[in-house]
Each structure stands twice: as structure tokens, then as C-alpha cells.
Amino acid sequence: MKPQLLEILACPLCKAELTLTIMEEKNGEVITGTLYCQKCAQEYPITDGIPNLLPPEPRVSAVGGATGP
């Protein structure tokens, strides 16, 4: 993920700002790292350049995309 993406991301639990920790970076993109919410003491992983902003226990109604075609 690009570090600039942090500007539009928030903690899915409390909507507070997140703090980025970079573990691996390539061409200005964070490949591995974490996004941390101080308020909830909750960490969200960044794996293969993609931040995972699902709450710790994903809701049953979670929707990703079409199951059709």
C-alpha cells in the first residue's frame, strides 16, 4: 500500500486515525507492516501490500463482491 492511503483509512471499530509501521517497503510501497489504532489497541496487518481492515471478528454480513458471474 502507498503510505498516502493512510489519509483515507480509519479504524473500523472506532474510526480513529491509524499509525503506520513499515516492516518491508519496495518502490515507495509498503509490502509488509501494520496499521495500529491507539484508542482500541488494535493492530491491522498489511500483507503483500494490502491492508486488512476487517474488524477482529468479521461481521456475518460481510460482503466482498459478486457471487454471480
Binding site: M1, K2, L5, E7, I8, L9, A10, C11, P12, L13, K15, E29, T47, D48, G49, I50, P51, N52, L53, L54, P55, P58, R59, V60, S61, A62, V63, G64, G65, A66, T67, G68, P69
Partner: protein, 185 residues
Amino acid sequence: MNIYDEMEPQFYHKIAEAVGKANPILDIGCGEGRLTNFLARTLGSEVCGVDISDLKLTKDRETSDARDVSDLVWFVKGDASQLDFLVNDSFAAIVSIYVLHEFMNPPESLRELRRVLKASGKFIVVDFVKGGEAERLWAERYYTPCEIESMLKEAGFTDIAMEFVYDDVVFVTSRMSCTRLKHET
């Protein structure tokens, strides 16, 4: 490949046309990110794809098409029906293809989409409608065009225009009204 897969490129072009210069764009339920990458490549805009499945997102990033536009495309693993992880007024356009019918609580999800959309931002929906071939193929619950229009209106979208782009597929364009609803502030 079914008829809907075959028609997808046609729908993508129509979506790009409707999005125009709006930037950045949110693609909800982006799946493998085909539309996400298409919009970035065609419009040169920044596009954020959100999907709950990491397998689909990983697969997408490995394609050559994805590498071409990697500077413009971001992916986030998240729930497209609950956008709590995105801040208010982040996008100038939101696109969704075959996603609306999947929302468990459409009014709530549509309110969330409004929240992350900038004032006068565009919301473009492509989805199946009730009573067509798709319903027989996938046995999912779809809405009538009237139901879709009502849901959008109730959620505060305006300038709603709808047309059939296939027997049971509607293409809907709408805008977020300039004024936020009381509970959104």
C-alpha cells in the same frame, strides 16, 4: 464463460464514461480488480478497490494489467457493506458491479457509501434485476428497478437515471445530494 462475463467489457466502458473526470474512485466489491484496473488505465484516475477476499486481491495484483497501473490502484481488504474503515468525503465517484443485491442491510450500506462520497459525487450501480436469467442461474435475491430507485432515493441520492444494458441488468447513475443528512454530520 456466460453471457454476463461476455458483456462485462461493454459495461466497463459505460461505467468509465459515466465516471468521467471524477477522481479518486472507489470500486466496492472489486473481486479480482478487473474494473479497478480498467478504470485506472482508461481514465488515468486513482482507484481504490475494496473486497473481503484476499485471494482475489492477491491474484489480481500479479497480472500484467495490474502492474501497468500499480501507481494508480490501491486495494484494501475490507467489508464493502460496512465502510467504517474509510473516512468521510474521500471519493468523487463510487462504482459497483453486481454488488448491491449482496448487501444484507441495503439502507445502512448505502448510507455508508454516501458518507465516503464527496458532495455531488457520482454513484454508479450495475446489477441484476428480479425475474431474469441471472436469478435462475444463481438463485440469488435481486431487486426490481423500482426497488433500486427507492433505495437510492431513501439513502439521499439524487439525479437517478436507469437503463437496461441487458435483459436483466440495469445500469444506474446517481449523485450524492449536496446537503448531508442530519445523522451524517
